[in-house]
């Protein structure tokens, strides 16, 4: 049961905000602003370097929460929330881990809907939290029954 997983966290995984990934991501959301991709513009900016778009953390790897078994199909993305201390810098290493924040069920038009809230923390090499990313996933009754949880 998802409720038993509340408070569980994944291991902390290191990943790099890679220049090529940032460019490809910026292009994919139609936002090829030079602050993301032009090194000279980055150097002259107040950040002294290039930054990454705010939804870029989707690309970064984070650890797996042990025991969390999600269906491969049929999940609905309900909410997504970011909080930043400052923008992510191109080239920096980020250490991230996820925590299961909450799970609750609500009666909806298509049966009992499950809401699973997960929060990801992204820290720099000094252990300062640079961003948090909270996702709420909706798991419908049909999907839950199909996987027998």
């Amino acid at each position: 049961m998802y409720k038993d997983l509340i408070g569980k966290r994944s291991e902390r995984v290191k990943s790099t905000v890679e220049r090529g990934m940032v460019r490809r991501f910026a292009e994919a959301v139609g936002d090829l602003n030079p602050i993301y991709i032009d090194e000279e513009v980055g150097r002259r900016s107040r950040y002294g370097r290039n930054i990454a778009p705010p939804t870029f953390p989707r690309v970064l790897s984070s650890g797996v929460v042990e025991g969390l078994n999600l269906p491969k199909k049929g999940l609905i993305h309900g909410e997504q929330n970011y909080h930043y201390k400052r923008p992510l810098f191109v080239g920096e290493d980020i250490y991230s881990y996820s925590v299961i924040e909450d799970y609750y069920e609500k009666q909806g038009s298509s049966g009992l809907m499950g809401f699973l809230s997960t929060k990801r923390y992204g820290e720099n090499d000094k252990g300062e939290v640079i961003f948090t990313e909270e996702s709420v996933i909706i798991i419908t009754e049909t999907v839950r029954k199909a996987m027998k949880v």
């Binding site: 990934m21 490809r24 959301v29 139609g30 602003n33 930054i51 929330n81």
Partner: protein, 133 residues
Amino acid sequence: MSHILELKKNDTLAVTLDPVSRMDLIKYAGASGDFNPIHTIDEEAKKAGLPGIIAHGMWTMGNLAKLFTPYYEEGFIQDYQIRFSGMVFLHDVVTLQAELKDKAADYMDFDVKAMNQKGREIIKGKVRFATYQ
């Protein structure tokens, strides 16, 4: 408008995107690593009970953020909260909008949303743009 700090309450930033193409979604799948086939393959979308492929919610959310990108010298997106409420289908024309609701010494709060060509809301939420002193 060249400076976000010049915006007044209820002023808006907005942009309308080109019609959504399959290539847009293939590119987003590749860039984000989200290869859920309901976003790229018709048969898989139909198997899931959809009339056709739909955009990743995060594609729309990622696009919406670009309203603020030109102002990175004045501040940055400190909080970005989105609720996904509608679906984006192939060839939909999406309009992104941010409306200034509150302005303080060190931040600006916006209501943000994306709508399709019928004016139906797709995503909705808030942005707190932290401003440098």
